[in-house]
C-alpha cells in the first residue's frame, strides 16, 4: 500500500500547527509554504489538527 499526504497549498495558511503534532517530524514549514520532507506514516494527526483542512491522507492500494 502506498500512502500519500496531500497538501492543498491554496487552503494552507502555513501556520505550522501540523508540524508540531507530526509524530514523525515529516513536515517542514519553509518560510511561506509547507513541505513533506520526511516519511509519512499516514496517521492523519496533522489532517485533524489543521485549522483550515488543508491536509488529506490518501490511502491507495
Amino acid at each position: 500500500m502506498c500512502t500519500m499526504l496531500r497538501i492543498n497549498r491554496d487552503k494552507c495558511g502555513y501556520c505550522g500547527t501540523c508540524v508540531a503534532v507530526c509524530p514523525e517530524d515529516a513536515l517542514e514549514l519553509i518560510d511561506a509554504y509547507l513541505s513533506l520532507e520526511g516519511e509519512c506514516i499516514a496517521c492523519g494527526i496533522c489532517a485533524r489538527a489543521c485549522p483550515l483542512g488543508a491536509l488529506e491522507v490518501d490511502h491507495e492500494e
Partner: protein
Amino acid sequence: MKSNYDILIIGGGPAGALAAKTAAEAGNSVCLIEKRSAIGTPVRCAEGIGKELLKEYVRPDPRWISADIESARIIAPNGTAICLDQARAGNEVGYVLDRKVFDRELVWQAAEAGADVIVKTRATEPIMENGAVRGAKVLSVGTPAEIRSEVVIAADGTEAQFARRAGLNTVVPLREMMSCAQYVMTDIDIEPGCTDFYLGNEVAPEGYLWIFPKGDRTANVGIGITGKMSRDGARAKDYLDRFVAKNFPDGKTIEMIVGGVPVCRPLACTVADGLMVAGDAARVVDPITGGGIGNAMYTGRLAAQVASRCIEAGNCSKEALMPYDLEWRASKMGAGIERNYKVKEYFVTLDDAKLNTLAESIASISFSEFSVLALIKELIKRNPKMLLELKALKDTLS
C-alpha cells in the same frame, strides 16, 4: 555571514528577541536567525497581554499598542456573562498589541544592543559533537552554511523542530494542540475597551472564542478548539465562520490568521548540552488562556542570562545550563502554568449545563483581582463540590 558566535538564537519572536538583546547586553557575540523573510509577520497570535507583565520587559509604546483593555466578559453557553472591570478590580488589565510592529521593535532593540540578525535563514539541523549542540546547519536564502556557537537558544515557536532534532521530545499530543483561526475584522459593533471570551461546546468545543478589540470598530475575532474536536466541517475556521455570520454579518475581514497553540505541559527538560529552549518551543504557554508572549519574553531573557554565566565560566553542559530550567519552573510563571494546566484538564470535561451553572454562581460578583486564579478561587467558594473534582489543585490554591 560570520560563522562563529557565543550564542546562536533560532527564531525572531518575543522569546528570541529578548534572548538576543539580553545576551548582547551581557557582552556576548550573538546571532539571531529567522526563517521567515520578515520579523513580525505572518502574525500567529491573538495579541493580548497583561500590562504589568509587559512592562517588565519593554516600555509601552503607542506605536505597537492597538488597544487599551479595561474590562473583560466571559460569556457562558446560555449567555450568562461574568464581567471583570478595571474600575472594580482596581488594577490594570491589559493591552492588545500590534505584533507586526511589536516584534520588530523587540528585534530592533536586540540589534541595537549588538546582536546580528539574519532573516530568511532556516536552521535545518543542529551541529552535534559528542552529543552536544555546537551550532546549526542553516539554509540562508537557499545557500547552505554553518553557524557555530557555544550555546544555541531554540526559540522557534510552535514547530519546535530544532530541539526535536537535538533529541528532545517536543511533539504536542493532538488533544493538547489548540487549532486556531482568527479574522482581523473591521466595521463591527464592539466595545473598544472590553475583551470577550465565549465558552461552550456549540461555540468552541474544549476551547473558547475571543473578541479582542484593536480600535473603535476593529477587533481580532478568533477561536481555538482542541485538535481532538477538530474534523472536516467542524474545524476552527468553520466555527469562526458560523459565529461571524451570526454576530458580524456586515463586518469586513482584512486579515486571516491561523495557528496552533500548545496547551500541553512544558517540555520535560528545557536544556541539553549546548542547548536551551524558550517560549512556545518550550511549551511555556498558559494552558487556560493560551497566552504566551509574556512567558516567551521571560524565558528568553532568563535563558540568555544563564547562558552568559555559563559561557563566562567555560561550561555549557546540560548540567551547567540546568539552573535555567530549575528557575523558570520554580517561578511564578512555572507555578501558574502547572496550576492552570490542572484547571484546564478539569474545564475541558465540562458540558454546557455545567459551564452555565458555574458561570451563574459567580456572575454577580465584583472581583478584586483580575486573573484566572481569582476566578477559580471564587468558583470554588461558591461551588464547594468542585474542589472535590479538583483535588489536585488544593495545594496550589492555598
